[in-house]
């Protein structure tokens, strides 16, 4: 009895402390980035100005004046939103079929889809560049949307499959008896019942798309370039301008951090595949 009490007393104090320490460690780089974005490039590298410096908005004005931040930002929004929608349009019927009408191969197909995530992206980089350049898709929104949705599709299908599996098959069958066709079952029963799961999946996919850098940096130049490309572009050849780079990075991650903050619950549910309810 005493041991249990002691244990719970320990965990009551130690666990939150530990959680705060971990959270601060994770938060520090973001905080540091935010801080640096308000310093001049000269101040940014000087340790004596770590916390005490004269804040300036120069980096931000410079960004919108010289780099056309809004074009990169709108490209990010267009490609991430479209890719998320496309992944869901393909993923929902696919997960539905596997959850409610499984065949002997369903498990293997799911594993195979996941295994595509194990392929190193670099392995197909050059074929992708040559191919897209030769058919004129290089640096287009369409290409970025397709790539973003396809690389996330395995995760989307896996997540939706897990959520759909929780819906009793009887309810779908009752719908069949009541006169629903397959599309009706998805629209009238599946989507309303799995709405929370679909929303978490969409949110997570959107964040993955927004943060994607490997492909968006390499498959775009100007027209379809996203915020990842903007950050990448600020690794200037004449040296690192930490102030400017921090401002660009802050402006790139800002929207997603705010979005994530408001949707914490759904995100945790999504990341744990619905295990926390």
């Amino acid at each position: 009895m005493a041991i249990v009490a002691q244990h719970s007393k320990f965990s009551k104090i130690a666990m939150p402390v530990l959680a705060w320490v971990v959270a601060l460690i994770f938060f520090f780089p973001i905080f540091y980035m935010l801080l640096t974005s308000f310093k001049t490039d000269a101040d940014a590298v000087k340790p004596e100005f770590l916390f005490s410096f004269t804040p300036t908005l120069e980096n931000y004005t410079n960004m919108t004046d010289n780099y056309d931040y809004w074009r990169f930002a709108s490209n990010s929004v267009i490609t991430s939103v479209s890719a998320t929608i496309f992944a869901l349009v393909v993923g929902v019927p696919c997960a539905y079929a596997m959850a409610f009408d499984p065949s002997r191969g369903t498990k293997d197909i799911l594993m195979w889809m996941l295994s595509t995530k194990m392929l190193p992206a670099a392995a197909v980089l050059y074929p992708m560049i040559f191919l897209t350049k030769s058919i004129g898709l290089f640096d287009t929104h369409f290409l970025v949307i397709m790539v973003l949705s396809l690389i996330n599709l395995p995760i989307v299908i896996w997540m939706l499959f897990t959520y759909f599996k929780d819906i009793p098959k009887d309810i779908i069958e009752a719908g069949k008896m009541d006169g629903l066709n397959t599309w009706g079952e998805i629209k009238e029963i599946l989507i309303p019942l799995a709405w929370g799961g679909i929303a978490s999946t969409a949110l997570l996919t959107f964040i993955f798309c927004w943060n994607e850098a490997y492909w968006t940096v390499r498959l775009t130049t100007i027209d379809a370039a996203t915020l990842s490309k903007l950050i990448e572009g600020n690794r200037a050849p004449e040296g690192l301008f930490f102030g400017r780079l921090s401002a660009v990075s802050t402006a790139a991650v800002g929207p997603i951090v705010v979005l994530g903050w408001f949707c914490q619950k759904q995100l945790v549910q999504g990341l744990t595949f619905g295990a926390v309810k």
């Binding site: 009793p168 069958e173 009752a174 009541d178 006169g179 629903l180």
Partner: protein
Amino acid sequence: MGRIVLENVSKSFGDTQVIPPLSLTIEDGEFAVFVGPSGCGKSTLLRLIAGLEEVSGGSIVIDGTEVADVPPAKRGLAMVFQSYALYPHMTVRKNIAFPLRMAKMTQSDIDARVNQAASVLNLNDYLERKPGQLSGGQRQRVAIGRAIVREPSAFLFDEPLSNLDAALRVGMRMEILELHNKLETTMIYVTHDQVEAMTMANKIVVLRAGVIEQVGSPLELYRSPRNKFVASFIGSPKMNIFEGDEAKKHNAHSIGIRPEHIDVVESNGEWQGTVGVAEHLGSDTFFHIHNTGLSEILTVRAIGDVNLRNGDTIHLNPRADDFHRFDEKGLRIT
């Protein structure tokens, strides 16, 4: 109208044949019960009729129309599921109205039918609630409501009462029977509970391993079971079945006698044994008797309270006319 004819219907899942070809006719207005131990194929058979499973062979004819290739909703049947299968995101009213909405009826017709069903099933006060706010019995009523608004030619019930507690189950049993009397529509009811089968059915279909063991009225099955399986499955407590000298005396490989067909006498009984467990219910007394020389345990039902306890010697007289005789294959000898 709801006459359902199955002809050589069979079902296989991959290489496993769960229902070998079987034929069965359910007349219009009949209350048919499919009964058997779990895994006997009774639910599969119901799902074949509903159209939720495709037949592997044979034909299903409903009111003269071959329906093997007709989708479930077009067969004119309504099904009530064991788990109720209500739409959790819709109110009771929307649940009941759903099949009508799918059938593209006008709103005024839908309202009229929903209100009528709700008053038949005492659901008027709950129409705006969601299924999650209802008790088990109320949910079951909503499921039945959703079935009756469609005015189907037959109702299919898949173990509808097994999720309810015992008291509620008896009540719902009566409600379903009253509904059957009122609507006079064909009903097919699947259960593993032989008491439910006996109390509800006009026609019982006893299934084992996908094979129909016997079809008949409850009392036909009780009085003349076609084989040892039906004999021991129908009736509670189970029929006593034993082999040996006693069976030979009746020119049979084995004989059976129901617990209620053995009389307890004061002395000089034809059989005697030692009382093991005695269950005193007041109206009846069940004795489980050892050392009879017939079978390991002999079950006897005596009317009223018979004052014999564990370890007492008991004298018994079986009623000669109520023996059931079976051959080596377990089939009834007439």
